[in-house]
Amino acid sequence: MRTHTMWATRMLSRLLRDGDATALLGDLAEERVRRMTRDSRADAARWYQRELYRSLAAVLRLRTIECVRAVPWGIVAAAYVVIGLYEFAAMWLLSRTWPEVAEWTSALRLVLEFPGIIVIAYAAATFRRSAAFVLGALMLCVAGLLNLFTTEAIPTPYIIASLVVGPLGAVFGGLLRRAPIVVASVLALFVMAGSASAQEPARTPQELDAFAFLIGKWEGTGKTRLPDGKVVEYPITWIGRYILDGTAIADDGRGPAPDGSLAVGITFRQYDSTRKAWIIEFLSLVPTSQLFRQVYPGGGSVSVQGRNVILHLERPAGKAALIRENYLVSDNDNWVYRLDESMDGGKSWDEGRTQITLRRSK
């Protein structure tokens, strides 16, 4: 017998109850013998093969219809709505307790929501066990479609987590009713592994943690001492986020410049693990577009002192002053940016030429 015919036979045996598959194959064999005497051996073999696949298709179709009719769609729909509400509640809670994770595209957020999804699926399974499994399939389909058709750039860890966490949580919820201890053990392993692998940024060099305090939205007041000694104050907004799959940080600030015009700029911070060097570049967009290479393997430096970070910037071409940036972090919700300037090659410093006090925006 050909391999694919054997495969179809096995499928039929699985889909039909004990004895029915044997009887069906016996009926096919009986008819084949009849056709061999009436037509030819080759015609009979062709008929047998065609009829075998027709039978398999019919059984598959009818079994699928039976399964779909047996699905408790009301329970599945209710559980899906509850999961949606739960996600909103989790986002709200995280935005107040762990803002870095409170992003829709955060893989870690999904992992943290995993236990809740299991509980909801478990509750659905108490009404009908199949509801949890259908819920899992539905979540997988929705996540797959959303990832496929979204126009936004989504981090790979999030795509993987969205395809795994929800569907697996629903399946575990269903299985929890049958083998609680086994499932609980697997769950514990999954959560531990998931938390470890979904840490954001996923492939972040540890050194980049020095700038992790920048992540989030910050509001504050800046003070700049002008060359004539006059001090100007202005409001400023600073937003930091991970980019490039979590391997870099981009933080941008905006606010009125001392002369009253709008100043907007963005800084890209990355640690090159291979060369063991920092790359920090500042792109000023308004009033003029300029890119400043502040720290790179050949110039500038970064030193970390506790939670504080000090940057010695590469001296821009044609400029006499040396610039030192101090990021003074007092706690998770407050930090100060202080810019010092030296006109004598770093022997003495004019501290606080610009100072910005920032507080986490709620």
């Binding site: 029915d20 009926d27 039978s55 019919a58």
Partner: protein, 112 residues
């Protein structure tokens, strides 16, 4: 007026049940399929016949038993089916409903 416990027959079930009734003690997959093809002009696959019979058996409309294995069937046994009293009642009830609904309809068969 029908009761809630009444089994409602689908089209496939109705056709297969009638074939089993006609064949009597010789009703098994191949003969049922042939009977439907010969009288009904409908070329059902063996798979569809067996799934339908299995469903009807779970509803109590038919019963089945395995026969002796034969050489021409590759040593496989036949599964013979019989209509139960509940199955006969379901057929009768459906015929009554169809008859009552069609009664007096001049164009029921699509003729003008």
């Amino acid at each position: 007026m029908g009761t809630r416990d009444e089994v409602l027959l689908g089209t496939l079930e109705h056709i297969v049940l009638l074939a089993v009734l006609r064949l009597g003690s010789d009703a098994y997959g191949a003969t049922i399929r042939d009977e439907i093809a010969r009288r009904g002009g409908r070329d059902m696959s063996f798979g569809a016949v067996y799934v339908t019979l299995q469903r009807m058996e779970s509803k109590g409309l038919v019963t089945s038993q395995l026969g002796e294995p034969t050489a021409e069937r590759g040593g496989r046994a036949k599964r013979f089916f019989q209509v139960t009293a509940q199955g006969r009642q379901a057929v009768r009830r459906l015929q009554d409903v169809v008859g009552a609904m069609a009664k007096g309809l001049k164009h029921a068969r699509g003729t003008t």
